[in-house]
Amino acid sequence: MTHKDEILDILRNEESLKIIRIESRTVKNMKKFVFDLYGCDTVPIEHLHAKLKYLFLVKPEIMAVFVKNYNPQEMPAVQGAFRKVQCQYINQIKIKIRNLYNPRHPDKDFQIKPLDKGISHEHVIHASDYEEQVDYFLKILGHKNGIQYLHGDSENLPFEKPYYLKTPETYTYKTIMIEELRASILDDSDSTGVVHQMKKISETPHYRSLNQGTNDYRNYLERFKYTLLTLDYSLENFNRLNELDIDQIKEFDRIIVKNEADYYRILDGVHRAAVSLNHNIKYIRCVEFCYRCLR
C-alpha cells in the first residue's frame, strides 16, 4: 500500500465526496477475502478468477475507505447477462487513481480500456458500484448492521453528528468553559495494551503540538490512525484548522459533549477544542447529549 496517502488526498480533494471512515486490516486468507468481496458483483467469480489472480500474491493488507457520495450518477453499465448499475462519478475517480498508481506494464503499448497505455490491470483500488455493495462489504468486514452502521441518523437532528454516536433523546445547546472539558486519548505506553485516558485539553497531544510545537499529535496519528482512529484525521487538516481566522474559530460547529458528573467528556470535537484553547478562547459552544435523562 505504497500510495495510500496520495490516494486519500485525491479522495479528500473531491468536492462531492466526504470520507466517513478509514480502516486498515490484515486479511488472513486473501483468496477467500477476494472471492467474498466479489461475491456481490453481477459477474460470476469464475469469470473474474484470472483477472483477480494478482491479488492472491500481494501482501494481505487492505485499507477500506468509506465515503459519502454527494454526486451519485448511477447508470446502467455492462451489456447482456452481467448488466449492472454503476456510479459514473466513482468510476471516473477509480480510473484516475488506477492510471496514476497501478503498476506499469512491461509492454509500453499494452492497453485495456478504460485505462491508459502502458498501465497494468493490477489495480491498486477497487470500488463499489452502488450503495447495496457498500452494505455487503461492511457486513463482510464484520459490521453486522451494514450501511446502517455508517448511516447514523443525523437527519433527525438540527446538527451533524458522527455516525458512531447514538441519537440522544435529549440534547442541550450550551456554552461551557474549555477548562471543564476532558478528551478521551488513546494510550499504549503501558504493557496492559491500549487504554482511554481522560485528559484536559491542555494535556492532549493535539494542544501540545499546536502550543508547544511538539510532534505529539503526529506521533499519535501514526500510532493509531486507521486502526483505532478511523475518522479522516490528518496533521495538515488540523494545522489548517488552527490557521483559520479567530472569528471563524469562534464560529466552529458546536462540539458534542456528555456530562460525567464533574467534567464534560468530548464525544466529538477534540480538535476544535484544542484549536480554540490555542487561541486563548475560554468558552466553547457545545451540544450536550443525554441518553438517560429522566425529565
Partner: protein, 229 residues
C-alpha cells in the same frame, strides 16, 4: 418579564398552528408552555435552533427533548425554565381515542391569521380549537382535574352555529377505542397436552396444600388463643 419574542419565534417556524393560546399571549410568565402543531417536526426544531442561535444563545441554554409523539424545546435561563415550546406533529399520543389523519390536514387548511402588534400568528379555526380542547379534556381529565378548564371553555361558547360545527367536527374526526379488559382472564382451560395437564396438576396441588396449611395454621392460632383466654 418575557425573554423571548414569541411572535418573532413563530414567524421563524412558519408551518405551524398555535393551539390552546393563553389569554395573555404573546406575553407569558416564567415556566409557561406554548403548544404548536407542526407539519414537519425536524424542520420546526431546526428553525427553533436557528432562532436560539441568533437571539438567545448569549442569554441561556436550549434543551431539546425528543419523545415519540412530541418534541419539547425548553429555553432555560440559569437552569430555570423560561418557556417550553411543545411541538406536536400528529395526534397518535391519545390513548383513549384515535384522531383521523384528516383532522391534522383540516387544521392546517383552515388555519387563520391573528394580527398582533408586532406581527401575526397562525391559529386554528374556532371549531378546530374547540375540538382540540375537547380532546385534551377527554384524554387527561381523569389524571389532571384542572383539564376541566377546557370543557368550561367549550361550555362558555354562546355562538350556536360554532357549537354545531364543533360537534360535527368532533364526530367526524374521532374514533373511540373499545375499552378492553387488560388484566388476566380467569377461565379454566382444557389442557392441550400432557405437559400442560401435568402442570395443571402441579399448580392445583400446590394451591390445595398451601390453602390447607394456611387454614390449619389459622385454626391452631384460634384454638391457642381460646385456650389461653
Amino acid at each position: 418579564m418575557p425573554q423571548i419574542d414569541l411572535v418573532k419565534l413563530l414567524c421563524e417556524i412558519e408551518d405551524y398552528v398555535l393551539i390552546k393560546r393563553s389569554t395573555i399571549f404573546p406575553d407569558y410568565s416564567s415556566g409557561f408552555d406554548v403548544d404548536l402543531l407542526v407539519m414537519d417536526k425536524n424542520t420546526a426544531v431546526q428553525k427553533v435552533v436557528d432562532f436560539y442561535e441568533s437571539n438567545f444563545s448569549s442569554k441561556g441554554e436550549l434543551r431539546v427533548i425528543n419523545k415519540e409523539y412530541h418534541c419539547h424545546i425548553d429555553f432555560l435561563i440559569n437552569d430555570k425554565l423560561d418557556i417550553r415550546v411543545d411541538l406536536i406533529h400528529n395526534f397518535d399520543f391519545f390513548t383513549k381515542f384515535s384522531v383521523k389523519n384528516g383532522f391534522f390536514i383540516k387544521i392546517f387548511k383552515d388555519r387563520q391569521i391573528l394580527d398582533l402588534e408586532n406581527g401575526s400568528v397562525h391559529i386554528p379555526a374556532p371549531e378546530d380549537e374547540l375540538t382540540i380542547r375537547y380532546f385534551e379534556y377527554l384524554e387527561y381529565f381523569d389524571r389532571y382535574p384542572n383539564k376541566i378548564k377546557h370543557l368550561d371553555y367549550i361550555c362558555d361558547v354562546n355562538d350556536k352555529s360554532l357549537k354545531k360545527q364543533f360537534f360535527e367536527n368532533t364526530h367526524m374526526f374521532i374514533n373511540f377505542k373499545r375499552q378492553e379488559w387488560k388484566r388476566g382472564v380467569n377461565i379454566s382451560q382444557k389442557p392441550e397436552s400432557m405437559r400442560m395437564a401435568l402442570n395443571n396438576i402441579y399448580v392445583n396441588s400446590k394451591y390445595i396444600i398451601s390453602a390447607s396449611v394456611r387454614k390449619l395454621a389459622s385454626r391452631t392460632i384460634k384454638l391457642y388463643r381460646h385456650l389461653r383466654g
